[in-house]
Each structure stands twice: as structure tokens, then as C-alpha cells.
């Protein structure tokens, strides 16, 4: 059978690309003739920009195949989240689905616009999905959720997420820990994958802080995939917080399949404190490697994990309780953070609270409160913002005025474009490089500020009592 898979693909490192790779490998091993069409240049057979109206291009490839698996995630096909852009793409999909009835949409993530009859994105989303010949979900929860949100019945079916997955590491737990340099006897919690705010790794840190010291270890393993400011700052905050917490650690870097599974083998619990998600490749690999998971009740995770392989939570307090149970200890006082055990000493607690707050402040770069006077957060924000400034673009040739004027503009553009484009590229390259340099400088300033805050805090701390003199002979 001739199969076409439309998806990102290796060597791009993304979860859906890996999923598609394993699917393609399995289908080819079964004797099918499989080709891949990728929206980005990869190791696929074909590469096309498929964003916006270009979705229709899939039709030409689909005609040559018996079955098409179209992996769906908004980033692959939508130019932006603006209603008109979304509507245009939805209509292109609708047309594609009408013509190519051999398409099975594998729904990894679907963003449904707010339900409002007048909105073009909402209305076209209903039309589009209604016409989809076949939609594959990984859990019934996802399938029902999408149908409820859209108010339409889909030709839906559910396929297990890990149907094509194979383990990449096979050591014993103790060997995996030895290779990774983890203690053999500690209870190890693991948050793993690309770091983004919606994954809620901060929730795991917060819950971990409530456990008695020495009870367990928490490792956050992963990296930020893109330079999005929100993600970078979130990861930096996680690192700063983990650095203050005994037993918590961050391993910053891309993790290969083998290392990923090795971490899974080494962990006692994989923690998925996600704030939003449909289904999870991390959870699927945890199941594959036989590692229990602690999973938030969002999207289809509860159904995907199954009762036997996971424990679930809804609130942060519940997460703390589940982690405490897994660590074999009673839950600590969730709000108290790292308060020392023993009789309550308000002064000691306050001192610790102030110390931790000063460090957090310093890590966030709020020099004014830390008393360093080096600068303030808004300055840094302004500098960081440079990175995301819009590049210089040539004027649009879309018709706004008379046809003659537009024609003249187009003609001028054709004449000067060979000369202007390299100049603009150069300007943008310099712009980008300057922005990066300034951001680097801003980070340095931030580190200096943090260091100054630490020193200031050390200087202002009450002097330690002199140590007892050695006994006289």
C-alpha cells in the first residue's frame, strides 16, 4: 500500500517528528511504500511550505497515495492565531478534505477558537473538522473534548499513542543511575522534555519544596527549543529556584532518545505537572519504560496514563501529597516551603523567608529592592525586547490604491528587488546580531546584579556568634 505521512520529521528534534519517524519505520517494516511530506526541510521525501492556503498542496501528493496520515498541530499549518489567518487555513483544509478522502488526521493538538457564531475562525473550524474524512485521537477524552467544543460529530477513532514506540535504552535502574551519576538510594522524581511554561515544572519544584529535606531528589531535564523570551525566562527562573533547593537539580541540554529513556529508567516517578496538553509523548515513553508517572488531570492524560501506571492530581497541594507518598514521607506544610523541622521558631522562619526572597529578587533582577541600585527590571525588559523587534521589510505590494499605482509599485519592486533584498538582509542581520549582543550584555548585568544582591545580603546578615573556644588543657 502507498502511504503518505505529512509531518515534521527527523533530524528536527520535535515530539511529533519522532512519532512520525517511528510510524514510518514501522509501516515500512510491514512492507508498505511510505513517503513523507514535511512542512520544513528535513530527511523527508518532499518538503513544502504548508502554511495558510498552501495546505491545499497536500492534495497533489495525496492523489498518489492510498492512505495519507496528516499529523496535525497548529504550528505546522497556521501562519498566526489571527482570526482571518485561521479562517483562511481552515477553508483550505476543508477544501483539501473534500477532495482527498483518503486522509486520516492524526490530532496531536487542536486549538479551538472561542465559541462564537460570528467569528470566522470558529465557524470555519467547524466546517473543516466536519468534513475531515477520518480523525485519529490518542484518547477518547481528546476525541470527546474536541467534538464537544466544536459541536459536531467527527469520524473519530482512537489509536494508542505509543503504538510504534520502541525503547532506546535497556539498562537496569542502578546502571542507569550510575551512568547518569545519580544516587542509588534516593527516591528520584523527574520532569523531562522541552521546557515551556505550560508544562508546569515550577509546580513540581514547589511541591518538592514541601517535602522534608533529604527525602528525595527532583531533576528537571531538558532545554528551551526556541529563543522565545517567555520560555527562556521561565527556564532561568526554574534554574534559579532549583539552585536554592537542596535535592533539586536542572540538567540543561537537549536529551537524545537513549538518554531520555535512561532518565526514565533511573527515575522512580516521572512528574507531568502540565497545565494544558492533549496527550503526551513523555507519558507514553514512561509507560513504555515501565516508570510510574505523577500526572495532572488535564486533556487526555488521565485516560492515556491508565490507573495502574500513574497517580493523578488536580491542585498543587494534591501534587505535594502524591510526591510525599511516593517519597515515603508525610506531606510537609505545603505553604511553609523549606522551613526547618522541629519546634516552630518564627524568627528563624522569617530569616529564611527573607533570605530566600532576597535571592529570588536577585534572580529576577529587581535590584531596587535588593538595594544594589544597579537598575530596574523595566530596563532589562526594554533591552530584552530588542531581540523581538520586527525586522525591516520591503513595503507590501498589496493593492491599496488605484490599479495603476499598484502596477507602478510592482514594477518598481521588480526593478530594484535584486539590489534591495541583499541590503535589507544585511541590515536585518546586523540588527539581529546587535540585539543578541545587547541581550547578552543584559544577562551579564543581571548576573552581576544577582551577585551584588548576594553580597549585600551576606553583609547585612547578623554576625555569627563566635565559635566556642577549645577547652583549656
Amino acid at each position: 500500500m502507498k502511504v503518505l505521512v505529512v509531518s515534521t520529521f527527523p533530524p528536527l528534534r520535535c515530539g511529533i517528528g519522532k512519532y512520525a519517524f517511528q510510524q514510518v519505520k514501522a509501516l515500512r517494516a510491514d512492507g508498505h511504500e511510505v513517503e513523507v511530506l514535511s512542512p520544513k526541510p528535513t530527511a523527508s521525501h518532499y518538503h513544502e511550505d504548508l502554511r495558510g492556503g498552501r495546505v491545499r498542496r497536500i492534495g497533489a501528493y495525496a492523489r498518489k497515495a492510498d492512505v495519507v496520515y496528516l499529523h496535525f498541530a497548529p504550528d505546522f499549518y497556521y501562519r498566526s492565531a489571527r482570526a482571518l489567518d485561521v479562517a483562511r487555513t481552515n477553508l483550505a483544509f476543508r477544501r483539501l478534505f473534500g477532495r482527498a478522502r483518503n486522509i486520516a488526521v492524526v490530532a496531536h493538538e487542536v486549538t479551538v477558537p472561542p465559541r462564537a457564531g460570528w467569528r470566522p475562525d470558529w465557524r470555519t473550524a467547524r466546517w473543516m473538522w466536519k468534513r475531515a474524512p477520518r480523525v485519529i485521537f490518542h484518547t477518547h477524552t481528546e476525541a470527546e473534548s474536541l467534538q464537544a467544543k466544536l459541536g459536531v460529530r467527527l469520524n473519530a477513532e482512537v489509536q494508542e499513542h505509543g503504538a510504534h514506540f520502541a525503547p532506546a535504552a535497556r539498562e537496569s535502574r542502578s546502571d542507569a543511575r550510575r551512568i547518569l551519576g545519580l544516587p542509588d538510594d534516593a527516591v528520584v522524581f523527574l520532569c523531562i522534555g522541552f521546557v515551556q511554561p505550560h508544562k508546569g515544572f515550577d509546580r513540581a519544584l514547589k511541591a518538592f519544596a514541601s517535602l522534608p529535606r533529604g527525602a528525595a531528589r527532583l531533576y528537571i531535564v531538558g532545554s528551551v527549543r526556541t529563543g522565545e523570551r517567555e520560555h527562556v525566562e521561565y527556564f532561568e527562573a526554574l534554574k534559579a529556584r532549583a539552585a536554592q533547593m537542596a535535592g533539586a537539580g536542572v540538567v540543561d541540554g537537549y536529551i537524545s532518545d537513549e538518554a531520555f529513556d535512561r532518565w526514565m529508567l533511573a527515575a522512580d516517578r516521572v512528574v507531568l505537572p502540565y497545565r494544558e496538553i492533549w496527550s503526551s509523548g513523555v507519558l507514553e515513553r514512561a509507560r513504555l519504560m515501565g516508570t510510574r508517572a505523577i500526572v495532572s488531570r488535564v486533556g487526555g492524560l488521565e485516560e492515556q496514563a491508565g490507573e495502574d501506571a500513574a497517580e493523578f492530581f488536580s491542585t498543587d497541594a494534591e501534587l505535594a501529597q502524591v510526591m510525599a507518598r511516593a517519597a515515603g514521607v508525610g506531606a510537609g506544610s505545603f505553604e511553609a516551603g523549606h522551613a526547618d523541622q522541629g519546634p516552630v521558631d518564627v524568627k528563624a522562619i522569617m530569616a529564611q523567608v527573607r533570605r530566600q526572597a532576597a535571592l529570588r529578587r536577585a534572580a529576577e533582577g529587581d535590584g531596587s529592592v535588593a538595594g544594589t541600585g544597579i537598575g530596574s527590571r523595566p530596563d532589562l525588559d526594554r533591552m530584552m525586547g530588542i531581540r523581538f523587534a520586527t525586522p525591516v521589510l520591503l513595503p507590501s505590494s498589496r493593492p491599496r490604491f488605484s490599479k495603476v499605482f499598484t502596477l507602478g509599485k510592482r514594477l518598481t519592486w521588480r526593478i530594484v528587488h535584486w539590489y534591495m533584498v541583499p541590503i535589507l538582509d544585511q541590515v536585518n542581520a546586523y540588527h539581529d546580531a546587535s540585539a543578541k549582543a545587547i541581550v547578552g550584555l543584559a544577562r551579564e548585568v543581571e548576573e552581576l546584579r544577582s551577585e551584588a544582591a548576594r553580597l549585600s545580603e551576606l553583609l547585612s546578615a547578623p554576625e555569627r556568634a563566635p565559635e566556642a573556644a577549645p577547652p583549656s588543657p
Binding site: P11, K25, V224, G227, I255, A259, D425, A433
Partner: protein
């Protein structure tokens, strides 16, 4: 030894230029002789600037090696490749997504990836080389447990990209060309347990005939020689400048013979520079024998065939201090001097040109060093031992580790002037504790 082995490389062929590419071909041909079934999975390209498909896709036998060629695919403009590449080269930080965009916006060979996706199980080991090409980057993801990486790593900005970390850290094993290359990798990545310094083999020509070269090419008198690609990082332009200044001030009859090709800026006064381009293999060896000194100004070497070829002809080398690999070879063998700037270049050259006996002695030491460590039989034995033990999940054999880490210097006496130059260099520049023993030894 039996079994099936695949090399994954960007280019391969009898007429493909490039040191790393030539070594892969020579290695593959010798491994076929050892009883292994060897296949080379490679692009159809011959030129690494254009990546144009030159060879027809499909199978062919090249000197007994089964070569499977797959077309290079370019569906992008390459604009982002250049933009991001410039930023990487200038040392600016880039995100993982940008690095992926950079490597996928250049040449791609999806056919090799697809072949491995279906056929990786047929191979006992897959040797990927060199580290920075798309073929290695992409194919390393197909069956990491079979990967043996032969990185040819240099201390360059690309080595610090996040996209390559995975290739190094998930390989079954890694073979290095020299201990400094291994040390560099060790400082950048968390290496697997199975690594070994295997080195490269050096061809031994049947003979060296200096007078034949002089007669054939009309080069008379003393001359320095450089052979290889002339491109950024090889520092040939700096060498030419140093040479021009030295010639103007000290030796108006001295010449610099350049072999190979490339486009680099030459000094305003190029007198004395003789550009011979590519020479037949035997002529090249004759040229090395006729030269007084082999100059290696490159900063990015993982092995340096140039100085090895010079040493085989018993010609000493003069290497730039900025390359840990060539410095290591020079200090370990006692077959070369090291310079950092023009003044050290001048002093070293003064000494070498004025002391033909010391030159001869250093050349002989270099030759002994190559014969002791880098004959093809030794390299192939080391590689086969690694492949076999790593396949079985065993650690690298002790004898391979011992040979690869050889650090004792060549014996014999060096004249006082040579000692003085070397001692100064060592005193000023060596902070690497691994090199201390031989530093002391040489300066005794």
C-alpha cells in the same frame, strides 16, 4: 574478523579532494581486505562548495568497496544557512531551533537516511564521519546503538552547537585521530565510556626523490612547503605574510612552495611564493623530501596528514601554537618546532635553516614517530579491535588505549639551539598538565 560495516560520509570517490574524505576511502579499502563486508553510504556530490550531484545515484564498486550513492537534495535557498552560519562563525549564541534551521537549510541527503531507516539492522556498526555534516547529524538519529562516530573534531564554533551534543553523547563509541582531539571532545561533551584514539594511517611511498622534483618543477635552493586546502582556518594567508617578511629581511632566495588549491589573500609582495596546485602523489612526496621545512599554520586539525607526510620524507615541521593537535605531535615526536607569532616563526626558521644536521635529526624523529604509530596496519588493527569489543558491549582494549595515548617523546639528543627554542616555547605556552612530562624530557 567478519561482519558488515557501513560508513556514512558526505563525499566519496577516487577523485574526491579532501584529507578526511581520502582517509575514509583508504580506511574502507583496507577494512575490505580484513574480511569485513564494507559499504559506504554517501551523496552523489563531488564538490563540497556546490554540492552538485556529480556521480549517478545507485551502487558501484570503488576499489572493492560497495558504494551506495544517494542524491543531494536542496529545496531551500540556503539564505538562512548563510545568515545563521555567519552568526555561529562569529561566536554569537543561537537557539536550538536556529541551529536546526541552519543545518537543514543546506545540503541534505534524505536517501541515506531512508536507507538506514530500512536497513540499519543489517550492519554491525555504522561509522559516521565527519561530525559536522548533515549526513552525520541526521543519520546518527536512526540507530544510535550502532553508531561509531569518527568526528574529526576541531576547536571551532560549530563544535559548541547544541545539535551535535546528542551525536557525541549517544554513540556506541567514538574514535579520535589524536589525544588532543579526544581531550577537546571530553571538554565539550559527556562522552560515552567507549572511546579510543585510533589515528589515521599514512601512506608510505616507495621512494622519495628530491632531485626529481627539483628537475621536474624547476624549484631550486631552500624552500618551505605547505600542502592542502587554502581556506579560512588553515591560516595560509598568515603563513604567506610571515614568509614574505622573513624573506625580505633574512633570506631573499628562500621560497615557499604551495600545493593544493583555494582562494586566500596573498601578501602584496608574493615573490618567492611558488604555487604548484595539485601534484601527482609521487611528485608530492618528492616535494616533501626536497623541502627544508614543512609549515603547518592551521588552527583546525584533528590529525594533520601534512606534517605526517613531511615526516615520512624525514623533513621537520614548523607548526602554529594555536592548534593543540599539531603541537602535540611536534612535542611528542621531537620532529618539529612551534611558533606563535612572526618573531617565533623567524627564530625557529633561522635555527632550522642554519642547522641542517638538527633538521635532519628532527626529520628522522618525525619519521620514526609516524612509523611507530601511524602505519595503516596499526590503525586498522586498533579500529577493528574497537569495533569488535564495542559491539560486544565490552570496554576498549587496554592495548588500544595504551597505543592511542602514547605520550613519551622520541629519544635522542637535540642540539642546544633546538632545545633553547623548544624550552622557551614550553615555558611560555604549556599549561596542559598532560604535556608536562614530555616537556621536561625534551628540555633536559
Amino acid at each position: 574478523m567478519s561482519g558488515r560495516l557501513a560508513f556514512v560520509a558526505p563525499r566519496y570517490g577516487l577523485d574526491v579532494l579532501g584529507g578526511a574524505e581520502t582517509v575514509v576511502r583508504q580506511l574502507a579499502e583496507r577494512l575490505v581486505g580484513s574480511g569485513l563486508e564494507v559499504e559506504v553510504l554517501v551523496s552523489c556530490a563531488k564538490d563540497h562548495y556546490t554540492w552538485a550531484n556529480h556521480y549517478p545515484p545507485g551502487e558501484e564498486r570503488v576499489n572493492g568497496v560497495l558504494v551506495r550513492r544517494f542524491p543531494v537534495v536542496r529545496t531551500t535557498s540556503g539564505r538562512r544557512h548563510k545568515e545563521i552560519g555567519d552568526r555561529i562563525g562569529a561566536g554569537f549564541p543561537t537557539t536550538l531551533a536556529e541551529q536546526e534551521e541552519w543545518i537543514n537549510d543546506g545540503m541534505r541527503v534524505p536517501g541515506v537516511f531512508h536507507w538506514l531507516m530500512d536497513e540499519a539492522d543489517r550492519y554491525d556498526s555504522i561509522i559516521l564521519t565527519p561530525y559536522m555534516f548533515w549526513t552525520t547529524y541526521a543519520c546518527a538519529q536512526v540507530a544510535p546503538s550502532k553508531n561509531v562516530l569518527r568526528p574529526c573534531l576541531h576547536d571551532e564554533p560549530y563544535a559548541r552547537l547544541e545539535i551535535y551534543r546528542d551525536i557525541f553523547e549517544s554513540a556506541r563509541g567514538i574514535t579520535f585521530n589524536s589525544p588532543p582531539e579526544r581531550d577537546l571532545a571530553d571538554s565539550l561533551y559527556r562522552l560515552p565510556a567507549s572511546t579510543a584514539v585510533v589515528g589515521e594511517g599514512v601512506d608510505l611511498p616507495p621512494e622519495h626523490d628530491a632531485s626529481r622534483f627539483r628537475a621536474k618543477y624547476g624549484v631550486e635552493g631552500d624552500f618551505l612547503i605547505y600542502a592542502g586546502r587554502r581556506e579560512w582556518g588553515k591560516n595560509v594567508d598568515v603563513l604567506a605574510e610571515h614568509f614574505a617578511r622573513y624573506r625580505r629581511l633574512h633570506a631573499p632566495d628562500l621560497k615557499l612552495v604551495l600545493l593544493g588549491k583555494g582562494d586566500v589573500r596573498m601578501p602584496e609582495d608574493p615573490q618567492g611564493i611558488v604555487d604548484l596546485g595539485f601534484l601527482p602523489e609521487q611528485d608530492k612526496h618528492d616535494a616533501f623530501a626536497a623541502a627544508c621545512v614543512v609549515c603547518q599554520p592551521s588552527r583546525w586539525e584533528s590529525f594533520s596528514r601534512l606534517i605526517m607526510d613531511g615526516w615520512i620524507a624525514a623533513t621537520p615541521s614548523l607548526v602554529w601554537d594555536g592548534c593543540a593537535v599539531t603541537v602535540y605531535h611536534a612535542l611528542t615526536s621531537g620532529g618539529g618546532l612551534i611558533y606563535n607569532d612572526y618573531y617565533e616563526f623567524e627564530q625557529a626558521l633561522d635555527f632550522l635553516l642554519a642547522h641542517p644536521d638538527a633538521r635532519r635529526e628532527m626529520g628522522e624523529r618525525g619519521r620514526a614517530y609516524v612509523l611507530e604509530n601511524y602505519q595503516w596496519e596499526q590503525v586498522v588493527d586498533r579500529l577493528l579491535a574497537c569495533l569488535e569489543t564495542w559491539r560486544q558491549g565490552k570496554p576498549t582494549p587496554e592495548w588500544v588505549l595504551a597505543q592511542g595515548s602514547r605520550s613519551e617523546p622520541a629519544g635522542g639528543q637535540v642540539s642546544s639551539a633546538a632545545r633553547a627554542v623548544e624550552t622557551t616555547r614550553i615555558r611560555e605556552a604549556r599549561s596542559d598538565p598532560d604535556l608536562e612530562p614530555e616537556s621536561r624530557e625534551v628540555s633536559q
